[in-house]
Amino acid sequence: MQIYIIPLDFEDEEILDRLAISLKQVFQIPISYVPIDINLKKGWSQERSQLNSTWILSQFLEKGPNDNSKILGVTVYDLYTPILTFLFGEAELEGRAAVFSIYRFQDELYGLSANQENLEKRILKEAVHELGHTFGLHHCRNYDCVMHSSTYIEEFDFKSENFCEKCKSILHEKMNN
């Protein structure tokens, strides 16, 4: 098993390299990049100026590697689903595909000056959170756990990038099955 990272118009390779190292430490499986040819315009909503995350997941499954690996997309565009105004990320529960956006992780969006440390912490938390869903983890009631659900950035910053003991044990069980 391994995790493929797929950049979707995300060009900062240094951030992705650091993310890959961190994810390897967390999940203890190989991490690599794989190019998939997706025409993002097809998932783009002109009206909402957002990218449809559910469509992205369907593209990953259609065009990505056909094995038991996990596919994690990273994009600079804000994500949406038809019924929700926005999403930080979306994943197939106990499936293979996940995607998240860095759009709402940038301090500039909230009238603050850019902060690289904040940005990378948020990216790591969200990547671990969405991959956690692909391994079958649900949202966790522990405020400190990375699987805790967050719908605004302050709540996002409050949680850690680590799994709580309970989620860690479920993850371990799921990964070994």
Partner: protein
């Protein structure tokens, strides 16, 4: 965010757009909620079963049947389901109509996830409170059974049957019986079995109220109504709003209070002492007395109109000596409770003790029996109570025998008061009468404490 959001919740989604159903389903499933969905009203009605779903999201515009109509149909199937209408076109008119129709809320597409999460959280908390409330009521009902009023004799069974019947109504009840027969206990039972059981039962001992105090006690007073009235105070009638007011020793209230009380009972309205505001109250009335009320009415000591207003449904509690078969049932129950409280291992009564308990006159009724057993438990050194532990004999009577009964009573009460240094509780215990009766007699005979 409230932790309740992560409780197991069953959510049903009805929307003709598959993308809406799918994305909401996926989003809710990440919270480990149980999610079901339907594309139209027919499918919804087929899948919707009572008790299966906690929250239903319904699109306002559905093929075949409009969302509001489906809302009514689902509510008919399960009145406890919380419905939330989803609309693509927000308008005040739609919102008002939806809420008037009984929906919990309405949301517009697309939905802010933060709003959605808080909405679910609020509903879950509310549902938990409703369920908690239901369970607590059930537990209260279980706790308030007839067990406390012990007895299997035909006389006591009749009393309990009458109490159970009248409890369901709002009828005023007059409880009659000798001192110590359990009039207050029966009042508590009637209240606990009545639809007012979740509201207060306010007991007023009319025997301990002086004429000046009674008005303020019953009707409350405003700040500054009289010297010492530093704060506004609610009266007992106001405190009993929606519940029951129990007037013990009703025969002891003075004529002025009788008149005020009659008006308040008839109109369910009164004003606080020193106030102008008319207070509306809703209470159920239970009275108790050990006096001969008919005699008091005939002698003009008690208002006839008030008497008839109070004496709508009368229950006579028989004295213990008239239901001797209950004596050992009560004695054993009391022994169990008292011994456990005193941490003593006492298993029962000897044959001789049972004989003595069953044959005693019990002038002070269950109260006297209780005191007798409590004393016996204190002094008993064996696991079985024997007659040695009982002290039935009365303290010695005054020496002179040429006095009237009233004079003897007066002299004897004074003697006990002197012995106890004016301690009412102690004196009442020795005399085997309740404190109210003792107060009444002290006032009647003009005794010194």
């Amino acid at each position: 965010m409230n932790n309740a959001i992560l409780e197991k919740v069953n959510i049903f989604i009805v929307d003709d757009e598959s993308s809406v159903r799918d994305s909401l389903t996926k989003w809710f499933e990440e919270f480990d909620y149980n999610v079901g969905s339907a594309a139209d009203a027919d499918e919804a009605l087929e899948k919707f079963k009572p008790g299966k779903w906690d929250i239903a999201f319904l699109d306002i515009r559905l093929p075949g049947m409009e969302g509001p109509e489906l809302h009514h149909r689902l509510k008919e199937i399960d009145p406890h389901v919380t419905t939330i209408m989803i609309t693509a076109y927000a308008s005040v008119e739609t919102a008002v109509k939806t809420l008037k129709d009984g929906a919990y809320d309405y949301i517009t597409k697309p939905i802010d996830p933060d709003y959605l999460i808080h909405l679910i959280s609020k509903i879950v908390v509310q549902k938990k409170l409703v369920s908690e409330n239901k369970n607590l009521k059930k537990r209260i009902n279980e706790l308030c059974r007839f067990d406390k009023f012990i007895g299997e004799s035909p006389q006591i069974k009749k009393v309990l049957d009458l109490a159970k019947t009248v409890a369901q109504t709002d009828t005023s009840v007059m409880l009659r019986g000798e001192s110590g027969t359990g009039k207050e206990l029966l009042a508590q039972l009637i209240h606990s079995l009545s639809p007012r059981c979740y509201f207060p039962l306010v007991a007023v001992n009319c025997g301990s109220l002086t004429a000046g105090l009674a008005e303020s006690e019953f009707f409350g007073h405003e700040k500054g109504a009289f010297t010492g009235a530093m704060y506004r105070r609610k009266g007992k009638l106001e405190l009993a709003h929606q519940g029951t007011i129990f007037l013990d020793e009703i025969g002891c209230i003075d004529s002025k209070t009788q008149m005020d009380l009659l008006r308040a009972i008839e109109t369910r309205q009164f004003t606080r002492v020193g106030g102008n505001e008319v207070i509306n109250v809703d209470f159920r009335l239970i009275c108790a007395t050990n006096l001969d009320m008919e005699k008091a009415v005939a002698e003009g000591k008690f208002r006839e109109d008030l008497y008839y207003r109070l004496n709508v449904f009368s229950i006579n509690i028989p004295p213990l000596r008239e239901r001797r078969s209950d004596i050992m049932l009560i004695a054993n129950a009391l022994l169990k409770t008292i011994a456990a409280k005193m941490n003593k291992v006492i298993t029962g009564f000897s044959k001789e003790a049972i004989e003595q308990l069953t044959n005693h006159e019990w002038v002070g009724n269950v109260r006297e029996l209780r005191n007798c057993i409590e004393r016996a438990v204190v002094v008993s050194t064996s696991p079985v109570i024997t007659p040695d532990s009982f002290t039935f004999e009365k303290p010695s009577l005054p020496s002179s025998t040429d006095q009237s009964l009233t004079a003897l009573e007066k002299e004897y009460i004074q003697k006990i008061l002197d012995q106890t240094g004016g301690n009412i509780s102690h004196a009442a215990e020795i005399l085997q009468i309740d404190r109210t009766t003792l107060y009444h007699k002290i006032e009647k005979y003009g005794l010194c404490r």
